[in-house]
């Protein structure tokens, strides 16, 4: 009768708030009352009960077995989740990854890496501090581990399993699940640190619109000036790292800690959101990883050593270059440069 009392309490509160008791009360307790009424006129007719069962969330269901949702006879959302996961996320998500990989590959094949137009000066600028690099690689390494293991769990059944067989694939999937579940929280913490570290230079500015309008000169080869981070990087920061990062982290925690007695519906919803946002995240990351490695000469060294050549700064992030030079008059060709001594990454330039 506990549940029954709660129903009346809810109905009473609703009546107080809304001021019309009858419709609310009727809606809240209809199923059980309907069955009771049906019992009087048609003793053999249990239709109201079965309607509740199929609905899956009858508050009057009880069971002796302890556990989460053990009193639910049928949960219909599982089928929806199955259709979404098996036929929407797996199929479209999988082709999205293939398409992005193909686009990046095609771009590299036809355009090749973006090289410097002028000769490097040999004078270097500090682009990323030790802390900034640590945070970046913390996120990057955990992200790649999560992406690879996530892809194995999602698509391995269709791609790896037919090739390597059940026993080996199960072992790999088991390992993937463990890595995914333990690295996940590390990624979430690193993402928070990354946001705090990089947010100040990712505030959108007016000149970002011009950069976006020209697609950063990615296809035209035209020079478009930008601040410390260009509009592409800012988009990646806000939509990727921040937006998708928060969604995958929050939904990941829901799935990773089933010991908080959350129900299946919440977990199905989390799984769907986790899958969609993770696939978009991986798709975007391919662009970022490409441009940060083979796509732009000097970009990888910037994040590895922290330093870039002044010409690199001028050609890729002109406004940032000018600010840096203005802050330190010794830079920007003002001082008597000693290229060999000033550049810790001299070997990086061909």
């Amino acid at each position: 009768m506990r549940v029954c009392n709660r129903q009346w309490l809810i109905a009473g509160l609703a009546a107080l708030v809304l001021g019309f008791a009858a419709p609310v009360t009727a809606a809240d307790t209809s199923s059980a009352q309907e069955q009771a009424a049906r019992q009087q006129v048609q003793p053999g007719n249990n239709a109201p009960v079965w309607r509740d069962v199929r609905g899956g969330d009858n508050p009057y269901q009880t069971t002796q077995v302890r556990g989460v949702e053990t009193e639910v006879l049928v949960q219909t959302e599982g089928e929806t989740w199955r259709q979404l996961r098996n036929h929407v996320i797996t199929v479209y998500g999988g082709w999205l990854l293939v398409l992005m990989a193909a686009l990046v590959g095609t771009y590299y094949y036809f355009k090749g890496p973006i090289r410097l137009h002028e000769k490097p000066t040999g004078r270097s600028l500090l682009r990323f501090s030790y802390w900034e690099r640590t945070v970046h690689w913390g996120v990057a390494i955990s992200f790649v581990l999560l992406a690879v293991t996530g892809v194995i769990i999602m698509f391995g059944k269709h791609i790896l399993l037919p090739i390597i067989g059940y026993t080996l694939f199960s072992l790999i999937a088991q390992l993937s699940k463990l890595i995914h579940n333990f690295v996940g929280p590390v990624f979430a913490v690193c993402t928070v640190l990354m946001f705090a570290t990089y947010v100040k230079d990712n505030i959108p500015k007016a000149h970002d619109l011009k950069w976006l309008a020209n697609a950063g000169g990615l296809f035209s080869g035209k020079h478009v000036p930008s601040g410390r981070f260009n509009a592409g990087e800012k988009t990646w920061f806000w939509i990727g790292v921040t937006g998708l990062g928060v969604v995958v982290s929050v939904t990941g925690f829901v799935l990773n800690f089933p010991n908080f007695a959350q129900g299946r519906e919440l977990m199905q919803l989390s799984n769907v959101l986790h899958g969609i946002s993770a696939l978009l995240f991986v798709t975007m990351s391919m662009g970022h990883i490409y441009l940060g490695s083979v796509g732009v000469d000097g970009a990888y060294d910037a994040m590895r050593t922290g330093y870039v050549d002044e010409i690199w700064a001028k050609e890729h992030h002109e406004y940032w270059y000018r600010e840096s030079v203005a802050a330190d008059p010794a830079k920007g060709g003002g001082g008597a440069a000693n290229p060999a001594a000033a550049s810790p990454m001299k070997e990086g330039w061909k």
Binding site: Q35, N46, D52, R54, T63, Q64, Q174, N181, N256, P258
Partner: protein, 207 residues
């Protein structure tokens, strides 16, 4: 060959939980794992009904469809079984199952659930019939002994029927005709409403 199904007659079930006890005893399932449970609807109200529920061994089993390591298989009798050696404990079968059948020995942090366990229709698993390993992992293999599931055999009111679908449907039809009510075959639409999937060999044997 016979197509095995469960049928619970809500007009007869008295919520004695004998089936639950029979199952636990027969298979010596660990604490916290409940392969079968009894749910009471409209408890304490006129028209109260109870139903015993476990894995229904669906025609188009959602657990089979979503398993990322494809550890499920279906016997020629329509019984849905799984290979615990392949199971990674991800919980996807538990999200997909309409009946809440998949059980996990743990619900630990970081998704450490252990190997999934569920009703086997007393048909054991992919291990050798009647072996100690089979019993430890999946419980007793009564079907291989020519017996029906322990829960249905133990049912004091014969509310729970388990066996060849044609036979149990016949029994139920006769009952409905005699008593003139209670024709709702609970769960059959959900479990057997879709086209039957072809039987598959155990996953281990496929590779």
């Amino acid at each position: 060959m016979a197509r095995m199904k469960f049928l619970c007659d809500a007009e007869r079930c008295i919520e004695c939980n004998g089936c639950v006890t029979a199952c636990k005893n027969e298979h010596e399932v660990p604490w916290g794992v409940n392969r079968r449970r009894v749910v009471t609807l409209n408890d304490g109200l006129p028209g109260e009904k109870s139903i015993s529920v476990a894995c229904m061994h669906c025609s188009d089993a959602p657990c089979m469809a979503v398993c990322p390591v494809d550890c499920f298989y279906k016997t020629s009798e329509g019984v849905v079984l799984h290979d615990k050696d392949l199971c990674i404990g991800c919980g996807y079968c538990f999200y997909a199952c309409p009946f809440g059948a998949p059980q996990f020995p743990q619900d630990g942090a970081f998704g450490l659930r252990g190997k999934m366990d569920k009703c086997t229709f007393c048909a054991g698993g992919p291990e050798t019939d009647h072996s100690a390993t089979e019993f430890r992992k999946y419980g007793r293999n009564r079907l291989a002994e020519g017996k029906l599931p322990a829960c249905a055999e133990m049912c004091s009111t014969k509310a729970l029927l388990g066996g060849d679908a044609d036979i149990i449907a016949d029994i139920y039809r006769t009952r409905v005709l005699k008593r003139g009510k209670g024709a709702d075959v609970w769960g059959w639409g959900t479990a057997y409403g879709k086209p039957e999937r072809a039987p598959t060999p155990p996953a281990g044997a496929k590779s």
